[in-house]
Homo-oligomer: 276 residues x 7
């Protein structure tokens, strides 16, 4: 019987050595990994000029994930040393796990997308964006959901995974575009001259305008009018105001110059019916 | 033969130790986990200012899931100790499990989404929302389905997984927007003055209005009219009433000032047919 | 050679013990589980006030699933004891199983969805619902398919998995909504007075109406008419009849009061062509 | 060396016992299962009142599947006994199998759906149905494809998996619906009286009509006409004929009574242009 | 050391026996399976009345698949006997395999669908079909792609997996349908008599027509005309020609009988504007 | 201790034999497989009449895949012989692998589709095709992407997996189709005679036309005109030019013959308003 | 007990040998692989004429992936040697892994797509493209997202996986296309002569035009006009300007030549109502 005991002792010693080895590896890897993560996030944050608050958020997220994964690995490895068969257990959990995996992938997908939206600074709070089919001012960018306040006052909760392409309308100058139709009977060159004069007034007097406005030419020959297009570059979020002001002035200038903005036209042919 | 018995005894003892170890681990982990869950949910609840009832609901859900998973792990581990091969069994169940997993993922997806709708307070009962293509007043927010009472009286049962983006129309002031068209022959400045007067009346007398209303300018040059836009911010759910009242007054004010709201126009050209 | 026999005997005894253990576990778990299922379904049924028939249906479904799964587990475990390698067999079956799993998931999905439709009483037979793109009266709610009789007499078989959101039109009062347009030349206040009078008649005399009807104001300024909206709450399924009756009376009342319901208007401008 | 032989003999005997055990299990399970399948299909068939031919088809399908699966299990199990490692082989086949599994799932899905279409008698040959986007008379219901003869003569082959919801237009009475517009200048009550008279003629003389027809009231106020709706229940497939006949008679009755069915109306306002 | 050699010899012998057993099984199974496949395809071919060429194509496809699978099984099994661990290798290949599996499933799906299109004779070369969104004459039906020549001359390559429902327009008589509108002022009975006369001429003289044509009644009351429908059954592919001929004759017959085919009508009301 | 050494020697020898066996198998299989691939591609190339360059491309692709797979198999097998457990490693890599597998499947799918587009010669450079929603001239057919130059000059990069159905407009004669409307008052037979004369001129004089043109009859009865259709078969890519030329001549011929091509017609009924 | 120690020593030695072997393999494979990657990327870069910066980016990406994978392999293999069962651990991680795998596949998919967009130079910064439903000037092409500046000033972040087909509008000459309608009463040949004259002016004087412009003929017979099409090839990005200039000149030339550009026509038939 003493051979047995010695054998068990051997086993215990072997297991002990392994446990020691694993724990040492864990104790080396754990802080090392944290350091690496910290420095990577730190560098990325500096490179992307993230605010310190945002850097901390990202760092804490990464730290948590890292700690959970490493802890799970440690426990499972120690379990394995005690010859407790945990494989079948885990495999069995796989049935439940599969369902959960499919069900929860949305959550993971939200967080991954959210992480990059934050890191790449695709949106900031108070910017005007279109994301996930919603249009409005960003109220909050979270890891799971982004809150967008619609222009009509609605608060939209958009899970990040439904944000495919983000259109950010608050990054740089915007275009103001006005189309105006004149009669087929008017002289186009004369009309353009009148319109160009209005444009020059705006270019000199309106501080919201960064470039233009300019008459760029005959954009289309409509069924009843010749459509002329005017383009400008304005300060961000001022494009609608500028468009409204230019539109009003162009209309008034054409009226003053006696150039017709035509209503829809129709040629009527009167026919006397024979077969009745 | 007695060697055998001693061997069996050994095995029994070994197994006994392992069982003891596992049970002890279980007895430590089980209440510890419960405490952790309780405190996490509790903190999250306080941070999100959830009502106590809602916090309890979430806590109970998490407790149940935790207890089931841990119980499953305990039983499977004990089974494994008795050298009863359960891996193939579970693997075999995998065929059935795969079908169930795919089939039931919807259920899990419902619960995960529902959990976050509750936790993040995206909707409350009696709020007016758009979710999963349905538009109406929330009657109940469940873990699996959300009940939305449509404006026409229909009761909609929306499984949470079909709720992608929630548009909550009951969080803050709403916009009232009225577009009104005047004739091309009228003086725009004069019309705006008349409309602005109406706006100021409303701004002073109507308590439902929080901001504005204001005439913001010429919104478009229509085929027969010059469209002017009026905007206001109103109390929540009062936007339609305010819009209706402003619309009525603007129309009456233009009538009083003799400014035409034009019908569709058409220019008719009479032509005599030659080729007949 | 007799050592062998004793060894075999040992094995037989060991196996015997294990078989005994498993069978005992099975004999305890099996009725226990049934009891638990019965009591859960029973409680859920009472809480949801399900009819006894429906409770029995759900209980029988759960019992069957439970019995099949437990039976499968028992057989596979016993097989495993006899050292018959069944893992590869099952794994091999996995190829076929994968195809079946994907193919049959629809079936599982049907049953899971059907189970919740029954349990949550989302629809009852003879209710008017919209589900899976089909509109009509429910004829039967099954675990796999729901039969909906369309309003035109068609019988629709909707597999439950295609029922995403259920809109139940038979739960509570419904809205009756009538829009009526008056001429731009009429006095809006006068017209509203006439319409409101009709509403009050209905409110007093029509038992189908639960709330209103009321004139809620100018809903829009159309191209040729000022649209006024009337709203009421009616008994379920009476909304169409009420709408038809209100519509008829409103039209007659406006006729009596000499208020014009306008045809589409157009302003014609005659122009003599110069360039021909 | 003779110990070896005895060992081998032992092995052979052990294997022999196992083979015997498996074969006996197989010989018990095989006919038992067949009996069970037969009786289940038989009962289901009687309950659903399936024709004997259809019952046989379903039974043969189930028998085949059962036999193939059991045969596969038997062979794989015997292989396993001979210590021939088949796991890796099967695993390796998994790469091919995955591709096949995904590719062939459509086939399985077809058969599963087809099985339930047959069992639940959702369609019969010669019925008029809408399934999988195709509209027509059913020519054949197979396990894999359903053949639908379109009304224009086209033969459509619809794989069963693309049949989501089946709309069966041949199960019960159908609705005939005729909308007819009268002038805004006519008396609505008078018009309804005339139309109701026609309805009563039909109700008494037309054997195809099961219920109604009835004038149910003013369905809408169109831009130029007051639309009145007439509803009836007819024998299956007679709805179009009845609708055509009612439509013709209603038109003639209104003509006889001198009630106008109006053309589109427009109010023309002539305006003299000043700015030209 | 000689014990070792004997042991090795033993092993070699054991392996030898196993190899022999496997090879014998292979030699029995291989031709047997081929026979079975041949006879199944042969029978199916006769039952479906497939041409001999098509039967050969299907047989060769099945033979190839069968041979590859069996060969793979043989080699992997023999490998296993030599104690060369191939499982990890295969598992490792699984990473690549997964990608390939997903990528190549389209190919398998093509072949499976193609197989059934051929076997069930859903289309033949030179038939006019609609499949996978393409409309035209079939030029070739392959296992992977079907070539359809569009009516405008385009050659479409449709991978079989994109062929969901096949609409075959070349299997049986087709419907010719002509709608013709008469004035609201005409007598409907008279018009139907005239149209029916034309129909009878066609029924007697036109060999392309199999059934009808018949005037089936008033199909709708349009905004300006009473629409009457004429239906016929024609030989396949002759429906357009017949429709064109009937259409021409009906128009001429109505002209001869002095029955008006009306242009769009509008009632004009002239109004003098007061508010200007 | 010397027993150990001998044991190790034994192991080394055993391993040696296995290595030798595997290497020999490899050395036989490797060139054999290459030969087989070469001959298969060669034959397929001849059968499909592929250019030698294209055959080489396909052969090189197949060779590369074959070499990589075989090399991977060899290394993994040798690793396995050294008793280095690589299974867990690979399994672990599976987590990463799954993500990569899903992510990279698009790439594999591109190559598989591209392979068949090349092999089956579905498109050639300079052909006019519609593929993946893009319309234009093919500039390059690659294994991963196909470059299509749009008619407006845009260069489209279409990954092959997005090419579902290819419509090749450069394989054979194309159809020219001209619809022309004549007045309801004209004699149809006379008009057809005039149009047919123009067709005959084209048939004799225009070399681009391969068949027709022919007047095929009255295609529809429009609201204001009788539409007559003319069809022809032209040389590839000449269809638009031919259509333009025929259209011009038909218009001129009708003018010469005094047959009216009508403008939209409307019947105006003047009504005096009573209720105003 | 010393036998044990010797055994342990043996094990240690064996393990030592294996470690040595693995490390040597690693030390050979690691730099070798780097060399191979470097040379492949280098060659590909030269072949595709990539800028050195871009080549470096791709090389660094490939190096990183290679290093991470190899490092992971090394550690896992060493772990395996110490008899520490890591398989279950990894398998267990599979549940989490599955969720992550599904969730993160988007990320991998982004990088794979981005890699090929860079390698194949499908877009360059400052080019005008349509990708992922967004239209604009490329600001940055990253491995994960591509930034496209919309024409209205919006900055769009498009994850590369949503870029299916890229339409690059900055690769070569673009088409300018002008459609102009003349009256049905005008002589087509004369009109074409006038238009062709304008085209020739442009061909001689406008440097932006590379080919044409040419009058290509009668593109369609509209309801009121004969539409003639003019086509040209212009320098990239100049197409809109050229179209605007040609459009203006064509209109003026037709005016000068007295050729009418018609308004919509309508034939009015006055009818006296009998049935009123």
């Amino acid at each position: 019987m003493n051979l047995d005991w010695s054998n068990m002792l051997d086993n215990v010693i072997t297991v002990g050595w392994k446990v020691a080895f694993i724990v040492i590896v864990y104790m080396i890897v754990s802080p090392l990994g944290k350091k690496i993560i910290q420095s990577i996030i730190g560098k990325a944050g500096k490179k992307q000029k993230l605010s310190e608050g945002r850097t901390k958020t990202l760092e804490r997220l990464m730290m948590n994930i890292y700690a959970y994964v490493l802890g799970f690995v440690l426990i499972a490895t120690l379990f394995g040393l005690l010859d407790i068969e945990i494989a079948p257990l885990i495999a069995g959990a796989g049935i439940v796990g599969l369902a959960i995996g499919f069900g929860a992938q949305g959550l993971v997908s939200d967080v991954v997308t959210g992480f990059f939206i934050l890191l790449e600074k695709q949106v900031e709070v108070d910017e005007y964006v279109t994301a996930g089919g919603m249009n409005g001012i960003v109220e909050e960018v979270g890891l799971r959901t982004t809150k967008i306040r619609g222009l009509d006052g609605t608060l939209n909760f958009v899970p990040n995974r439904y944000i495919t392409t983000i259109s950010n309308h608050s990054r740089g100058n915007m275009r103001a575009l006005v189309d105006i139709g004149i009669s087929y009977d008017e002289n186009i060159d004369e009309a353009i001259k009148v319109l160009q004069q209005v444009c020059e007034e705006f270019a000199q007097n309106d501080e919201r305008i960064k470039e233009g406005p300019d008459v760029i030419g005959v954009n289309s020959l409509g069924s009843s009018d010749v459509v002329i297009r005017v383009l400008a570059q304005t300060e961000n979020m001022e494009q609608w105001g500028v468009e409204r002001d230019i539109r009003k002035r162009l209309k008034e200038a054409l009226d003053e110059a006696g150039i017709e903005i035509p209503y829809p036209h129709q040629v009527n042919i009167t026919k006397h019916v024979n077969h009745q």
